[in-house]
């Protein structure tokens, strides 16, 4: 069944088409949710809620749209609803400290780094920085979209991202230096 048929059948509330959509995109949504929430059970719950919500709003989807991407956005929105409700990580008081503009560092030889290590370093970031770094670097949201989803000023988001990214780059650079030292000492 192609995507056009699947969407059409989901619009007719066909159970088999809905299950097919679930099987196709469940891990895509799960990875996005897990990256944000860092809790497997919460991520699984929100993935299910996202699919149900998606099927309820399926009439908003046209046949040309990326269904997986649309569902992923619903899931990510649900993640931030949960974070806002439970943790208040992105309350105004919590982010005021970084209103001063932060200079963004860059890492030029990123291809030398292993993906597993980058994931490890991202996980070590403070939550308020980690989620923005995840949204920007992995989920490909831009600063304006992140500001909408987090209900923050765009400038605040830019600064938070810069700070998070700088911490990440510092960790990566440190690791690279250590690797360099280890290699040369051994030699």
């Amino acid at each position: 069944m192609n995507q056009k048929d699947i969407i059409q059948q989901c619009k007719q509330n066909k159970y088999t088409a809905q299950i097919e959509v679930y099987k196709l995109y469940k891990n895509l949504l799960y990875n996005s949710c897990y990256r944000i929430l860092k809790n497997r059970e919460d991520a699984e719950d929100l993935v299910q809620d996202a699919f149900i919500k998606g099927f309820q709003k399926i009439h908003q989807v046209n046949e040309e749209m990326n269904l997986g991407g649309w569902l992923r956005r619903i899931a990510i929105n649900l993640c931030f609803d949960k974070i806002r409700k439970e943790k208040h990580v992105f309350s105004i008081e919590n982010v005021q400290e970084i209103e001063a503009e932060t200079v963004e560092l860059e890492f030029d030889n990123a291809e030398e780094l292993s993906i597993d290590f980058i994931k490890e370093c991202i996980d070590k970031l403070k939550e308020k920085h980690r989620v923005i770094v995840v949204l920007y670097l992995i989920e490909e949201y831009n600063h304006r979209e992140i500001s909408e989803i987090l209900q923050l000023n765009e400038s605040t988001v830019r600064n938070q991202y810069a700070r998070g990214k700088n911490q990440l780059i510092t960790m990566l650079q440190k690791h690279q230096k250590n690797e360099f030292k280890r290699t040369h000492t051994t030699a």
Binding site: E44, E140, L168
Partner: protein
């Protein structure tokens, strides 16, 4: 290559986590509950069907009982009508007259047999009254005419003549004419026959 480019190039490696095996079962349950509440509908449907079936059953029992009552009543009347005792036959005729509102072909056949063959005049007269409950039944009307042709008891003859006159049965004129012209006919029967003939001619 900068960090974002490197990550995007290896995006698939960031999506390596898998949902647990049990999650699909839970999702199917949730999907059924939220968007396909078919079980509830089925339960409602089954309840509706079971209620309807109960009603049908109750009505079936009611009509079966009613029918079986009717069957037993018919048998009872038929057994009275065929009894050797004239009193019992008379009781059977009155029972039919009182308790049956609709035609019953078996009983009507038994009554017509009495009309033609019964030896007791009172039973015959009561039978004619019972048959007059069905004035539109052509079988009854025809048999009254043929019974008049054969009847020789004056009281019964008069009862049949009056009945045919009441029914405006024009086919009886030939038989009435024969009775009027018959020298052996009782004068009172003749006068009733003449009166009926005049009424039918009007």
């Amino acid at each position: 290559m900068n960090l974002k480019e490197h990550i995007q190039q290896h995006k698939k490696e960031f999506d390596s986590e898998k949902m647990s095996a049990s999650s699909e079962i839970l999702f199917k349950k949730e999907l059924q509950k939220e968007l396909h509440p078919t079980k509830k509908t089925k339960v409602v449907y089954l309840r509706f069907v079971s209620v309807a079936a109960s009603i049908v059953l109750v009505f079936s029992i009611f009509f079966f009982n009613k029918n079986s009552n009717k069957v037993s009543k018919t048998s009872e009347v038929l057994s009275y009508l065929s009894d050797e005792s004239a009193g019992k036959r008379l009781e059977g005729v009155y029972k039919f007259d009182d308790e049956f509102k609709n035609e019953d072909s078996k009983i009507i056949d038994a009554l017509l047999k009495i009309l033609h063959d019964d030896a007791n005049a009172n039973v015959k007269i009561a039978t004619i009254d019972a048959l007059l409950k069905f004035p539109t039944n052509d079988k009854v009307r025809t048999h009254l005419i043929t019974a008049l042709e054969k009847e020789n008891k004056p009281l019964v003859q008069i009862k049949i003549i009056k009945s045919l006159s009441f029914l405006r049965e024009h086919r009886a004129q030939k038989t009435l004419k024969e009775i009027i012209n018959n020298n052996e006919t009782f004068p009172i029967v003749k006068s009733n026959a003449t009166l009926a003939m005049n009424q039918l001619k009007q």
